[in-house]
Symmetry: C2
Subunit: 211 residues, 2 copies
DNA sequence: ACAGTTGCCGAACGATTGTTCAGCAACTCA
DNA sequence: TGAGTTGCTGAACAATCGTTCGGCAACTGT
């Protein structure tokens, strides 16, 4: 019982150096970079991250309870990054160009997937062990919330009078999933063309769901 | 120099028991099963395979030079399996039902991907280190030859007079890649529906590329 | 029946993994 | 200035990995 109180107090205390939080994100960034280069949860080692940051392996445990927590942190950190670039791309297009906003979102998705093959692989490969999610939280894969933004973009298209060949949510899944699969094909065979081959495909896919 | 001769002679000698080859495929099957359940190259251990087969870890090395050779064997074995089920599905449909043959192929692909999550993950996650392929062999990802069968099916559609909204090869990529992506979404979030949610999506995707 | 070959096993080796712990150095507060 | 707290480190732990080696048992041809 006194243990809990002490732990809580320890966590609440601020770092007097003012560097602790910065090192945490530094670890997160380095781990993310290794993720991108190596790809795969097993390829990411505590020692490797520590070496990349320039600290001792034991220091990792001052910021993350264990390796699983570090991996969760990297995943969370990078999904926010992907969501951010898609949101920025969405907002960088004029409001009345509703289709252009869909295209901008998907192009941003492609760029991110090409530039971060490791994270991309993680998005697919994350097997979610039973009971990993918080209690009461409906279990959902990491792609689902991102898909939500695409659905919203298609609903804006419908409200702007654009004619779709199917309900907006279904169109969003169609485009998102097709883009996702095209990127998978690229990662399976990167030799023949990169983003310059992917983006036209995505554009044609988008035009396909409109009437 | 005499070493090479002796090794070659050893490899050429047939197994007098007549069981060696059978055990090899037994190892391959067990490794494939573990691949399906665990998913991921790193999760597949020599000791785990040996335990699954019921033999000593050292015995694996009588049939595979090292772990990389075992993994290559599993990949090859299972791609042939996937190609086989897609070919069987293709041939199980009447010749004049050209669109039905496309659907049968893609449905078989979905079933395989749902029933073998590990292999599916492998199809995506296989990072091909430089110089792994045989010399003179154009490097290509594992999805590419399978895609070829889909292209052929769409070319048959065109020859039968079906109108496509794009060149047959592009339509094949569109459908294949969209199906592939839909399966990825399923694996990312298996809770909401399985094959019964995937197959209608695939059917709609196929109908989308026809005029 | 006997020598020769072959496939499998038990045991071990070195390397690497995640993780823990005591101690040292740098900072804050009185 | 001195006590107290905090972050980081070096060293070590047990576990697990791929892999190797000598020996045993089952089969072959003669």
């Amino acid at each position: 019982m006194p243990d809990e109180v002490e732990v809580a107090a320890t966590q609440r205390v601020r770092n007097p150096w003012g560097q602790g939080e910065r090192l945490r994100t530094e670890i997160l960034d380095a781990a993310g970079r290794l993720f991108s280069e190596l790809g795969g949860e097993e390829a990411l080692t505590i020692r490797g991250v520590a070496r990349a940051v320039g600290i001792a392996p034991a220091s990792i445990y001052q910021h993350f309870a264990d390796k699983a927590a570090l991996v969760r942190g990297v995943i969370e950190h990078d999904y926010e990054r992907l969501s951010a670039v898609m949101r920025e791309a969405d907002e960088s297009v004029a409001d009345d160009d509703v289709v252009g906003r869909v295209r901008a979102q998907m192009h941003a998705y492609c760029r991110f997937a090409v530039e971060n093959p490791g994270h991309y692989r993680l998005m697919l490969g994350n097997r979610r062990p039973a009971g990993q999610g918080e209690a009461g939280q409906r279990p959902q894969g990491p792609l689902v919330p991102i898909l939500g933004a695409v659905v919203a973009a298609f609903e804006r298209c419908e409200q702007a009078g654009k004619r779709l060949r199917m309900p907006s949510e279904r169109a969003a899944v169609m485009v998102f999933v097709g883009t996702h699969g095209r990127v998978a094909l690229y990662h399976s065979n990167p030799e023949d063309g990169g983003a310059d081959r992917i983006l036209p495909f995505v554009d044609e896919l988008i035009s396909l769901v409109f009437d």
